[in-house]
């Protein structure tokens, strides 16, 4: 089962590299996405057996994040079919400085997408820290070409920063791994294998200072990947310059994988009785990330960057939730789900907007409601969802995290949390409203779209509207009702993270 989950995408990716552009790669992409989603669904039915003597097994957190990833990938690949069909593959004008640029080969793109899925799946299932590290680094490497899909100077710059920063960060995580290994070694030679389970079982035996420094290194390392401020610096560039569907995957799936890696080491620390230290760090990082995000969201002129910073904010909320512990962890898990769905939806909607307006500037765009009714609805709905307004799912999780803070009487944290949330809300409200409402800012250069849109209801390609719509519907549902199964998995995951 697990082998299938990893193997199918990887093999398909390798195949995709060799088939020629056209409908075939797209079909392959869609097929793999569906298969993977099906397998994931199967995982919910039957517990998959651990393989490689427990190196790969699917515990509750893994299952949660795997499901998110798979679902998102399915939606994104549906979107991608339409997207790739509409992309013109010749060289074309850049809409900012009018530079000429082309796209990467479609087959390469699809190949990387599939490998990306495979590596992320590997992250969610690997229980061995070394393997986990390998997987996370691999995600970085296969996603780099995705960011550089548009062969464009700015996306190139973004890619470079992405690789450098993430690789350096991950390298630190590697050192953390070795520290962990040392911590797991006693005088003489016997030694605990670096499996989450074994480590947690005889956590007390671990050598404290080494474990602590291992935690620091891994937190910084994987935190870089996860986008905790001040390690988040690659994130806005990569998200803003990559194609929207890639941004959706990066922000919705990849960040979660990094978060999962952080959770793993936190699990071990918590089991070893260093949870208070770990928590204080997580809370600190969380609030600081929210602060930085707020500072850059307000008055942001590039709306994809704004979405990226909002991801920084929500990663901050996640680590804050885990750091608060108790109900907060459950809240954080729920928040991860909601955030992925909502953010992906927003990025896809953003993609539609860019496709029509040929601009990413919040100053130039207005009247989305009148030009793209459905996308306008998605855009504003996504804004309300991402800022945690009821009846959307993020409201519940943010409420839970607030409750966790107040129940422990941590008024300072709660107030800072609310204050930052409100600043972010105000900033976003200004941007989203002026984009969605008002008269259409009209065609920047040529007609509104290649095909000249008329303002009637369903004037938008179905493939580019349905996936975000589905995601939005899901967050809405999660805001009004949490299915039993999901609830159970969330609780298991929370329990696992708490270390009991």
């Amino acid at each position: 089962m697990i082998f299938l989950l990893i193997g199918v995408p990887v093999l398909a990716g390798i195949i995709a590299f060799f088939i020629r552009p056209g409908w075939m790669p797209r079909f392959l992409l869609l097929a793999v996405a569906v298969t993977h989603a099906g397998l994931t669904a199967g995982v919910w039915m039957v517990e998959p057996a651990p393989v490689l003597d427990g190196w790969l097994l699917l515990d509750a957190p893994g299952q949660l994040f795997l499901s998110i990833t798979s679902l998102l990938f399915l939606m994104v690949s549906i979107y991608a079919v339409g997207y790739l069909a509409r992309e013109d593959w010749g060289s074309r004008q850049d809409f900012k400085e009018g530079l000429l640029f082309t796209n990467a080969r479609e087959s390469v793109f699809v190949c990387c997408l599939l490998l990306f899925l495979g590596t992320m799946t590997l992250v969610t299932v690997s229980q061995h820290f070394g393997l986990l590290w390998v997987a996370v680094e691999a995600t970085t490497l296969v996603s780099a070409p995705l960011i550089y899909f548009h062969r464009h100077v700015r996306s190139l710059e973004a890619t470079w920063k992405y690789i450098m920063i993430c690789s350096v960060g991950i390298a630190l995580a590697l050192l953390g791994n070795f520290f962990l290994a040392v911590a797991a070694t006693f005088k003489g030679q016997e030694h605990i294998p670096l499996l989450v389970k074994n480590l947690m079982d005889n956590a007390p035996a671990l050598h404290a200072p080494w474990l602590k420094s291992a935690f620091i290194f891994m937190l910084v390392g994987y935190g870089t990947k996860m986008g905790l401020a001040p390690l988040h610096t690659w994130l806005p560039d990569a998200h803003s310059e990559s194609p929207s569907l890639v941004s959706a995957l990066l922000s919705g799936a990849l960040l979660n994988c990094a978060f999962l890696a952080v959770l793993r080491i936190y699990q071990v620390c918590a089991a070893a009785g260093m949870d208070s230290y770990g928590r204080s760090l997580l809370v600190g990082f969380g609030l600081f990330s929210m602060l930085i995000a707020a500072a850059f969201i307000v008055r942001q002129i590039d709306f994809k960057r704004m979405l990226a910073y909002s991801s920084v904010e929500h990663m901050g909320i996640l680590s804050l939730g885990v750091g608060l512990g108790a109900g907060g962890v459950y809240g954080a898990m729920l928040h991860a789900v909601n955030h992925s769905l909502t953010k992906a939806m927003l990025f896809l909607a953003a993609g539609n907007i860019i496709a029509v307006y040929k601009s990413k500037s919040t100053r130039e765009i207005s009247g989305v409601f009148s030009v793209l009714p459905m996308t306008g609805v998605l855009w504003v709905g996504g804004f309300l969802a991402i800022t945690g307004s009821p009846p959307f799912g993020l409201f519940v999780s943010e409420l839970l995290i607030l409750k966790a803070a107040l129940d422990q009487g941590r008024w300072g944290v709660a107030m800072a949390y609310l204050a930052l949330l409100s600043v972010i809300f105000i900033g976003m409200a200004a941007i989203f409203c002026r984009m969605a409402q008002g008269r259409s800012s009209g065609p920047p250069a040529t007609g509104l779209t290649p095909r000249g849109l008329k303002t009637t209801l369903f004037n938008e390609p179905l493939l580019s509207v349905l996936p975000p719509l589905a995601l939005g519907a899901l967050t809405l549902v999660l805001g009004l009702y949490i299915p039993e199964g999901l609830h159970r998995v969330l609780e298991l995951a929370a329990a696992a993270v708490e270390g009991f």
Binding site: L172, S213, T224, P391
Partner: protein, 660 residues
């Protein structure tokens, strides 16, 4: 009865959905939507009435797969009392809106607008029946969002977008305080169910005090207590008039409802709560009406009057709290009774006034009072109903506004003798008197400048009366004002269960205490009758006297000036000038005057502008400070990858040095 209630909500929603489905540019969208809301509201009135008259409480509860959530609702006397204005005003406004929005039929998506309208109505109804914190917050926020979309109906206008943004911001910030409030209560109660909260009766001042503060801020933002009122004067003018009527008439009252409901969780009240509310009430009342006086924009003026009336309500509630805290049941009953009754009254006459303003806007295309005038001859119905509304809102007999203020007055006079409460009582008396007289000043201004005299512009001269679909709602509300005034003793009798719930006094005792006031109220009604009677007699007398004597019409006597023109009439600015001058310390009106030059001046002008002091002095500086701090962090993302990696290194080193 319960089925009737849910059925009405279902009908309203169905209407909205259908209208949304019919979508943009279909003439049916508007009709279906408005009819759905109208019918649903009529249906919904029945159960509410039933609960109030029979006192039978309806409640529903079921499992909800949400953390701390349970789908439990209840219609008790308090909820029912708030449901009545909600359904009443929503219904008539819907009827009004069906005609009012017709001009946008070809340009805008009426379907969406009616969809949000129905959502707003339903969510308001649910807010007052919700019995669980999470459910309450959810419907509360849905209500705010729906109204936001209604406010930004004409979002092509920059000003409207700005207003919408301010409203959204304000309401969201308010909601955060409510989040904290409910979470804090839930921490003690172990659940978010209101039943648990009521069972707890949070005694400890450590919880109750802060909770009360959070409630006042959170709900006060929605209700429009000064200084949290800044969104009202922006949002109400921006919204379409039937929506303004709905928002100002009933939506802001949900804030009052929330506050009162919270009071039923917290007991016994400490006396400073009462002082606080009285203080808030005085500020909101007096400052609100002063700002209203200074406005030139008709709907802005009305919006500020909402602030004023919310202030009056707060005065009543404050007195009630003081009464409960100092064990003076009579004061408690009169205070709460007056405050709550004023909720109903304000819903009626403020709805009426906004609808009237709407039909003026509809007929002349402007809200600038100084561009209007003489409408009474062109729009008799609108003018008459507006006049009635003005008398009511000034709290003058014989209409309903007077009744609630009368209760509060009597309460204040009653408590006067007790040295410990005499100061707030005296404050209430002085405050109410000033508010009343200022309101008279304000509405004689509105009436005189907008409806009386000569039209000042072409638009005003060409104005036409709006048709029945818009007239009937206004007439209905006007009749409502009369009816409440006439039935005052009976209504006050009905209110005893509501008041007893809020004041924590057994209903029977409340009945006896309220009986003090019922007698006088009957006499008040007699006085009103006598007044009407006298007016009729005198009118007839005059007719008789003038019969057969020369009665002719001439130009207004202008003290010998040869050729008077409409431009020479007293404008709203000039009318309000003395009072504005008197209170300039608060209003800080900006005046720009370009004086006439040389012998034959080409042009001369005087412009006065009164912007909201609180917005300029509190909120804008605050926002700027935050913004400055924000921009002081921008250097972090300065572009060089080396620097970014330096951040990583520094973080690492700091953590290591801290950790090891």
């Amino acid at each position: 009865m319960g089925i009737l209630f849910w059925g009405s909500l279902a009908i309203i929603l169905a209407g909205g959905m259908a209208s949304l489905a019919l979508g943009r540019f279909s003439p049916w969208a508007g009709r279906v939507g408005s009819i759905g809301v109208f019918v649903g509201c009529l249906m919904g009135l029945a159960p509410a009435m039933d609960v109030i008259v029979t006192g039978a409480v309806m409640s529903w509860s079921m499992e909800w797969r949400m953390p701390y959530g349970s789908l439990s609702c209840r219609i008790d006397a308090l909820s029912a009392f708030f449901l009545i204005p909600i359904f009443l005003v929503s219904g008539v406004s819907a009827l009004y809106g069906s005609r009012y929005l017709k001009i946008h039929e070809t340009t805008k998506n009426l379907g969406a607008s009616w969809f949000f309208y129905s959502i707003l109505v339903v969510s308001m109804a649910l807010v007052v029946v919700a019995r669980n914190g999470v459910l309450f917050l959810v419907v509360w926020e849905i209500m705010s969002l729906a109204s936001f979309f209604l406010v930004t109906f004409e979002h092509e206008k920059e000003s409207v977008r700005q207003a919408g943004w301010i409203y959204l911001t304000a309401t969201h910030l308010g909601t955060f305080f409510l989040l904290v409030l409910f979470v804090v209560l839930a921490r003690e109660a172990g659940s978010m169910d209101f039943d648990r909260f009521e069972a707890m009766r949070f005694h400890s001042a450590a919880i109750a005090g802060p909770a009360f503060i959070f409630a006042v801020i959170g709900f006060g933002t929605k209700a429009g207590f000064i200084p949290f009122h800044v969104w009202l004067p922006e949002a109400h003018p921006a919204a379409p008039s039937h929506v303004s009527a709905l928002m100002s008439g009933v939506m802001i009252k949900t804030g009052i409802y929330g506050l009162v409901r919270t009071l039923t969780f917290l007991s016994p009240p400490q006396i400073w709560w009462g002082w606080l509310l009285v203080g808030v009430g005085l500020t909101s009342g007096v400052i609100g009406v002063l700002f209203a006086l200074a406005q030139h924009d008709l709907k802005r003026l009305l919006a500020y009057h909402s602030v004023e009336n919310i202030g009056i309500i707060a005065l009543g509630l404050g007195l009630g709290l003081i009464g409960t805290a100092t064990h003076q049941p009579v004061l408690a009953c009169l205070g709460f009774g007056g405050g709550l009754l004023h909720v109903l009254n304000h819903a009626l006459f403020k709805g009426l006034l906004f609808l009237g303003a709407g039909s003026v806007l509809h007929a002349t295309g402007t809200r600038e009072m100084d561009r209007l005038g003489g409408l009474i001859n062109r729009m008799p119905w609108t003018s008459a109903t507006f006049a009635a509304g003005s008398v009511a809102i000034c709290g003058l007999p014989p209409l309903n506004g007077f009744i609630s203020e009368f209760l509060i007055y009597v309460g204040a006079y009653h408590a006067m003798g007790r040295p410990d409460v005499s100061i707030p009582s005296a404050g209430v008396i002085v405050g109410l008197a000033m508010i009343g007289t200022l309101a008279v000043a304000c509405f004689t201004k509105v009436l005189g400048v907008v409806f009386l005299g000569e039209p000042r512009t072409e638009a005003a001269a060409k104005a036409h009366e709006s048709d029945w679909a818009m007239r009937i709602p206004m007439i209905a509300l006007a009749l409502g004002c009369v009816a409440v005034a006439a039935a005052a003793p009976w209504i006050v009798g009905l209110m005893s269960p509501i008041v007893s719930g809020v004041a924590g006094i057994p209903a029977q005792a409340v009945k006896t205490h309220l009986r003090i006031i019922q007698g006088p109220l009957e006499s008040v009604t007699w006085m009103a009758l006598l007044l009407v009677f006298g007016i009729a007699i005198l009118a007839m007398l005059r007719k008789r006297l003038l019969a057969g004597r020369p009665v002719d019409r001439a130009g207004t006597w202008d003290c010998g000036y040869a050729m008077p023109s409409a431009r020479m009439q007293y404008t709203s600015s000039s009318y309000a000038k003395p009072l504005i001058h008197l209170f300039d310390g608060i209003l800080q009106t900006k005046t720009s005057y370009d004086a006439p030059v040389d012998l034959f001046p080409a042009r001369a002008g005087l412009h006065t502008h009164t912007e909201d002091v609180f917005r300029r002095r509190i909120y804008e500086p605050l926002f700027h400070a935050v913004d400055r701090f924000r921009s002081s962090l921008r250097w972090m993302q300065e572009g060089r990858v080396q620097v970014y990696i330096l951040y990583i290194a520094v973080t690492l080193v700091v953590l290591l040095i801290g950790g090891l």
